[in-house]
């Protein structure tokens, strides 16, 4: 939105909406970081803070909902403004889901802390760093209405998916090697899945940004790197 | 931006002693203005009352004339010596002798030519006409004796009404001592009385003030104004419609517009000269005729009617015109079905103002001979006549004392005429007025 509204308070209300989103985005980012940290450091206490902070995220989402409702009722936004308001609603929901996944990661981290450490856990920080960067970029893209950045985030999801797939295979193999690893590996698998889901929500946000800038959905089929749904690991394959 | 940090002092700029002072000043000037208006209004009302009072006090007596009750002997020997009872012959009869006989019967002691003439002078010439009218209406009166109220001369009337003084030297009186004593005797016998002056409303002009009437002037005015209305109204409205609705706006129509406005300000005497030169001398139309007066006054009223009509047409909301055109009415249908009816009250007001103006106009009529002495009620637009204001002008010019009250009475008649016209205007406006 290059120029301002004639009614300045309208601009202020929209600004408040984007500020709320930025705040929520920042919070979700730190939630993810803390959750990953809890996994890596096997720190149950850290994991507990993530769970408790999640309430704040929910509050912020409610605040965004209220603000959207308010702008819709009082300003009857159209065109770009309407798309921005609807986009904010959707981004808020995506962030909230992302925060929920972070909370799940944290919960499993406290469980993982009680089982012996597993080797593949080293992939988790890499995935976590990646998803955090994606989230950061998509939030920047939203703040700057930067379509290029949003699309780049959208494209990076493929990489994340691939990382998840390989981790999935690795964990399967691991579990086959020693059934005692199954409990820890399953938790790790879910943590990886959660991080991958956060990536999906991040791409959703990128798509929303595309819609609210361009007015049309991002049409091309999203690149899919997650092949885990089709992954089969046999004993032969393991050997090979 | 919205800076809310206005000085938080409890006294706003609109309260406090300073503000109260400002407010009081404002109210004071308002009251002063109101008083100026009331003063102006009072002055106008006072002037109006003075005018009306003068006219009323001068003219009220004109509606009553002094009459003498006499026993008249309708002597067939004098009235109808041939015994044919021929109405034409009655007219030739010596009615003066009949009236004189009645007087002499009352005052048998009066002898000699001069005293008899003076006795005779008590009665108006109009008395003879009254007697003639009685017999013409009822020939059976012949040979009978009847008590009849006979009109006195203006001199007697003036004495009786107190307009002429009794207590001045005989030489400077138009009624001498002998006549006064006769009048006193008649009065003592109850034979002298002021009776309602019907003649004033039925007769035309006369040389004798006791015999004059305004009807000739009223009819003349009516005919003249009728002519004016007939000519000026359709022409004026048509011109206004053309100028307002059809004429292109260019230099030529601007010129016409300026000229119309100027014509409205041209002195009326100029229209009289125009009428004299064009209608009388060039076209050879009859002098003193209401038709010519009507044409001249129509020319004079035309600019006023055009201006008023244009203003009225312009004041019709354009939305009405658009509504009509919008459903496919032609220009003429829009004008005649919608615009003109809505403009009608205004047009009529303008027209009646113009006519009222024309009614009071004398100058142009003087030029075309409507200042003539006309004793007959005008029969039609071609017969010689005069109009009320000219009549007033002529009477006011007459030195005889008896005309003073007649002049005022004629003015009253003119005012009533005007009042009736204005009433008609209001009535018409109410009738045509519609909300939109």
């Amino acid at each position: 939105m290059a120029n301002e509204h004639i009614v300045k308070s309208y601009d202020e209300e929209l600004k408040r909406l984007t500020n709320l989103l930025a705040r929520m985005g920042g919070l979700v980012e730190s939630q993810i970081a803390t959750a990953i940290q809890a996994v890596v450091q096997r720190d149950a206490e850290l994991a507990a803070t993530v769970v408790s902070v999640d309430v704040k995220v929910d509050d912020l989402e409610r605040e965004i909902d209220d603000q959207v409702l308010r702008v819709m009722a009082l300003r009857q936004p159209v065109a770009g403004d309407l798309r921005l308001v609807l986009g904010a609603l959707r981004i808020g929901a995506d962030l909230e889901r992302a925060a929920d996944y972070a909370k799940n990661v944290a919960k499993r981290a406290s469980v993982l802390a009680q089982v012996p450490p597993l080797r593949p856990v080293h992939s988790i920080p890499r995935m976590g760093a990646m998803v955090r960067e994606m989230l950061k970029d998509v939030l920047d893209a939203f703040a700057a209405q930067d379509l290029v950045k949003a699309v780049s985030v959208w494209n990076r999801d493929e990489e994340l998916d691939e990382m998840y797939s390989s981790l999935f295979r690795e964990l399967l193999t691991y579990m086959m090697e020693d059934p005692r690893n199954i409990s820890g590996s399953t938790h790790l698998l879910f943590i990886a899945k959660n991080i991958e889901r956060i990536g999906d929500h991040t791409t959703n946000i990128a798509e929303t940004i595309h819609f609210l800038v361009k007015g049309v959905p991002l049409r091309e089929a999203r690149p899919k790197g997650d092949a885990s749904s089709f992954a089969v690991v046999t004993a032969d394959a393991k050997k090979a | 931006m919205t800076d809310m940090s206005v000085p938080a002092a409890p006294a706003s700029r609109h309260t406090g002693p300073e503000a109260r002072l400002r407010l009081e000043k404002r109210y004071a000037s308002e009251r002063r203005f109101e008083r100026y208006g009331m003063a102006a209004l009072s002055f106008a009302i006072a002037a109006l009352f003075l005018l009306l009072w003068t006219i009323l006090s001068n003219g009220a007596t004109a509606f009553f004339q002094t009459h003498i009750r006499l026993e008249v002997h309708f002597d067939p020997a004098t009235i109808d010596p041939d015994g044919k009872r021929d109405p034409a012959a009655f007219r030739q009869a010596n009615w003066a002798a009949v009236a004189r006989a009645a007087l002499q019967e009352k005052f048998p002691e009066v002898r000699g030519r001069l005293p008899l003439r003076q006795l005779d002078a008590l009665l108006s010439d109009g008395a003879q006409i009254e007697l003639l009218r009685m017999v013409s209406a009822d020939p059976g009166l012949l040979g009978q004796r009847r008590e009849v109220w006979l009109l006195t001369s203006s001199d007697v009337d003036m004495i009786q009404k107190g307009h002429s003084a009794r207590d001045v030297p005989e030489a400077s009186r138009r009624v001498n001592d002998a006549q006064l004593s006769w009048l006193d005797r008649l009065a003592a016998e109850g034979r002298l009385e002021k009776r309602f002056n019907t003649r004033f409303f039925t007769a035309a002009d006369s040389r004798q003030p006791e015999l004059v009437g305004v009807w000739g002037g009223v009819v003349g005015s009516f005919l003249t104004l009728g002519m004016t209305l007939l000519l000026a109204f359709p022409m004026g409205v048509a011109a206004a419609i053309y100028l307002e609705e059809y004429a292109p706006k260019n230099r030529f129509t601007d010129l016409i517009e300026v000229n119309i406005n100027n014509l409205a300000a041209v002195p009326s005497i100029v229209y009289g000269l125009l009428g004299l030169a064009v209608f009388l001398q060039f076209f050879g139309m009859p002098r003193s005729a209401p038709i010519v007066g009507g044409v001249v006054l129509a020319l004079m009223s035309l600019p006023i009617i055009i201006i008023a009509s244009r203003a009225a047409l312009r004041s019709v909301p354009p939305s009405i015109r658009e509504a009509a055109l919008g459903i496919g009415a032609s220009k003429m249908q829009a004008i005649f079905h919608h615009i003109l009816p809505l403009a009608m009250p205004g047009i009529m007001t303008g027209t009646i103002i113009a006519l009222a103006h024309a009614l009071g106009e004398t100058a142009p009529l003087l030029m075309i001979g409507m200042v003539a002495f006309v004793v007959d009620i005008p029969a039609g637009p071609l017969s010689p006549s005069t109009v009320l204001p000219v009549q007033i002008f002529m009477w006011a010019d007459n030195p005889e004392r008896g005309f003073v009250e007649k002049t005022s009475a004629a003015i009253m008649t003119l005012l009533v005429f005007l009042l009736l016209m204005n009433a008609a205007a209001i009535w018409l406006r109410k009738k045509f007025e519609r909300r939109w």
Binding site: M1, A2, N3, E4, H5, I6, V7, Y10, Q76, P77, V78, A79, G80, D81, L82, R83, K214, G215, V216 | P248, K249, P317, S319, I320, R321, E322, A323, A324, L325, G326, I327, G328, A329, S330, Q333, H337, H338, L342, R434, R435, W436
Partner: protein, 273 residues
């Protein structure tokens, strides 16, 4: 002169489409309007579709009313107004010499900003159009038309017992619906509405909008409005005018969610200065 030449260039360059488009009731190609020296409308190309409501929006003085008044030649009443270009109703040039303006206005009715019933009875208001166009002769025929039109305008139930009352005695919204009844009494094909609700309260506006929505099955409606929500509510197509040009014309839903032009976006979102 220059403007006309430009027009031909513009229309020649940008509109290769042959004239009669399917279902286009009114078609404009390179329509220019001058008021004296003022170039009020610059080369407008638009197709107004049959049996749809087309809304014209835009800031004051943008030429939307001017264009509206070209369609029934109401601009003819303004001496200084000059219209050039190609404007057609059902393929026939509206400004052709052979077109009778009275007949044109019978086909293209108009409802104005201010409700302007004649200062006559409700009955006479509605019957006036059919009368001057000779659509009815007998009293019974007039009665039929009046009832049908008032029903069409959703006013019949409210006024059927007082048809002889003055039309000016109705409420604002009723007056405007009376004006619509008056317009449809002539059986037009197109109804032009010049800000018909600008003087009405929201309830009366809703009645008129509901009416417009119902009328579109029988008539082609063009409505000029300053109220963008109204354009959004009642129209299927919206055209945005700005400084005498037609900036954008598209499906209303498209205009209000994702307009193509920056100026449209700026205007409808309240950023236009």
């Amino acid at each position: 002169m220059d403007a006309t030449v430009t027009t031909q260039n513009v229309s020649g360059a940008t509109v290769p489409v042959p004239m009669p488009m399917p279902a286009s009731k009114v078609a404009a190609r390179g329509v220019n309007v001058h008021y004296g020296a003022k170039h009020a409308l610059k080369s407008v190309d638009i197709d107004i579709r049959e049996n749809q409501v087309t809304a014209f929006i835009g800031p004051s003085g943008c030429g939307k009313s001017t264009f509206l008044r070209c369609i029934n030649r109401m601009n003819d009443t303004i001496a200084s107004c000059r219209v050039t270009g190609d404007l057609r109703l059902d393929g026939q040039d509206i400004y052709d010499r052979s077109v009778d303006v009275v007949q044109l206005r019978a086909r293209v009715g108009m409802v104005f900003q201010k409700a302007n019933p004649f200062p006559k009875s409700i009955f006479e208001n509605v019957a006036y159009g059919p009368k001057i166009h000779g659509l009815a002769t007998k009293r019974s025929e007039f009665e039929e038309i009046v009832e049908k039109s008032l029903r069409g305008a959703g006013l019949w139930e409210e006024v059927k017992d007082r048809l002889d009352d003055p039309g000016t005695g109705l409420s604002g919204g009723q007056q405007q619906r009376l004006c619509i009844a008056r317009a449809i009494a002539v059986s037009p094909e197109v109804i032009l509405m010049d800000e018909p609700c600008s003087a009405l309260d929201p309830i009366a506006t809703a009645h008129v909008e509901e009416l417009i929505d119902g009328l579109k099955s029988d008539y082609t409606i063009v409505i000029v409005t300053h109220n963008m929500q109204q354009a959004a509510r009642v129209s299927q197509r919206t055209a945005f005018f700005h400084l005498g040009t037609l900036v954008e014309e598209d499906d209303t839903a498209k205009i209000f969610t994702n307009p193509r032009d920056e100026r449209t976006q700026g205007y409808i979102t309240g950023r236009y200065g």
